[in-house]
Symmetry: C2
Subunit: 213 residues, 2 copies
């Protein structure tokens, strides 16, 4: 598919936003969606939707809309979310437990293959069927052996960089960081920070304006 | 402060991003920061930092930089994050417990005044000192009595809209939604969705490109 290499980065970033509304439409039994409806659900302009989707294949039927299932499959293929990525999670406190049990990973065929904590009371216990907590001291060895692709960090800020460094050492190239600490990374790797405090500050600002207005 | 009303929305959205790096500088004992250093930490251009900060007061000392403490105080005041907002959390599973114990709220002077769950085994137990889980059926009554400003939703998708509707009914104007379900809201209210699946998809895309490249 020589065509794929020409998709602009801005489009790639945007099409990830189409996934959830399309999943919801499919769950509701909707088979075809218009660019206008899809734009409304994704909060972008219709013209933008049509332009973004024009880059990868012909799913549009003029005057009718897009085939929801085909479109979702193609977007997932381009995003790489139709592949099974192997996950490791470090830190099985409340946040780590909530993540391990989150259905979003299984929905994407991603699979937890390793879990780590440094608390002796947790080591040896089961997080999910077949997923047993191992000592954090074995991150490098186990992640290498398991061929982990994505590491999830759910430890306190003070431990985040140390954990990230061990994951990178094990050859893990992608990290989803739930600690508020922004970890440093080698150039070959990618880190996504999930930080709700910006959203919290937006709400406070909204309330502050409202109160004064 | 007539001046404040002229701050563009784009600037307001951006200054929330300055908070965390400034907090870190302060914790490290840094008293003055240059626009160049701040730009680097926030990943924006220096010219942008200078423009954004020019809107609210004179904290810049030419050739030296900004007073970190004064700047942070002023940003928090403008964002409304220096005020005490009263929080209620609904859903005390692993995610809810992790949130209730997150130091980010106390750091902002926000305070949990109510916690709800529908599980009889949880009702009556203590989440934080003085914070006892109450039945979800009492959300409207309790939130009204407690004057709750911000509601946190940490329940499964299927229950999210019902919980949001009860919070709105109780006069709660701002919701931080940790369920993957995008709740509908009245025009007078604001909802921020915290959804890590977009970050996860970005990582998968990064790995997919890497594998093929």
């Amino acid at each position: 598919m020589a065509r794929e290499t020409r998709i602009p980065n801005a489009t790639i970033e945007r099409i990830a936003l189409y996934v959830k509304p399309l999943e919801r439409l499919l769950e509701e039994g909707t088979e075809v969606v218009s660019s206008r409806k899809l734009a409304l659900l994704c909060r972008v302009r219709s013209a933008q939707v049509r332009k973004d989707l024009s880059y990868f294949g012909e799913f549009g039927v003029r005057g009718v809309g897009y085939d929801v299932r085909d479109l979702l499959r193609e977007i997932r293929r381009i995003l790489g979310t139709d592949q099974e990525w192997r996950l490791a999670i470090v830190g099985l406190g409340n946040m780590g437990q909530a993540l391990a049990q989150n259905p979003a990973f299984a929905k994407r065929c991603h699979r937890f293959v390793a879990a780590f904590d440094s608390d002796p009371d947790k080591i040896g216990t089961t997080v999910l069927p077949g997923l047993i907590i191992q000592p954090a001291s074995e991150i490098v060895q186990v992640c290498r052996a398991e061929g982990v692709h994505i590491g999830l960090i759910a430890v306190p800020s003070s431990q985040a960089q140390g954990v990230a460094d061990r994951l990178f050492e094990a050859g893990v190239k992608a990290i989803l960081n739930f600690s508020p600490f922004q970890v440093r990374r080698p150039d070959c790797c990618h880190v996504e920070n999930v930080d709700f405090t910006v959203s919290l500050d937006n709400l406070a600002y909204f309330l502050g304006r409202k109160g004064k207005g």
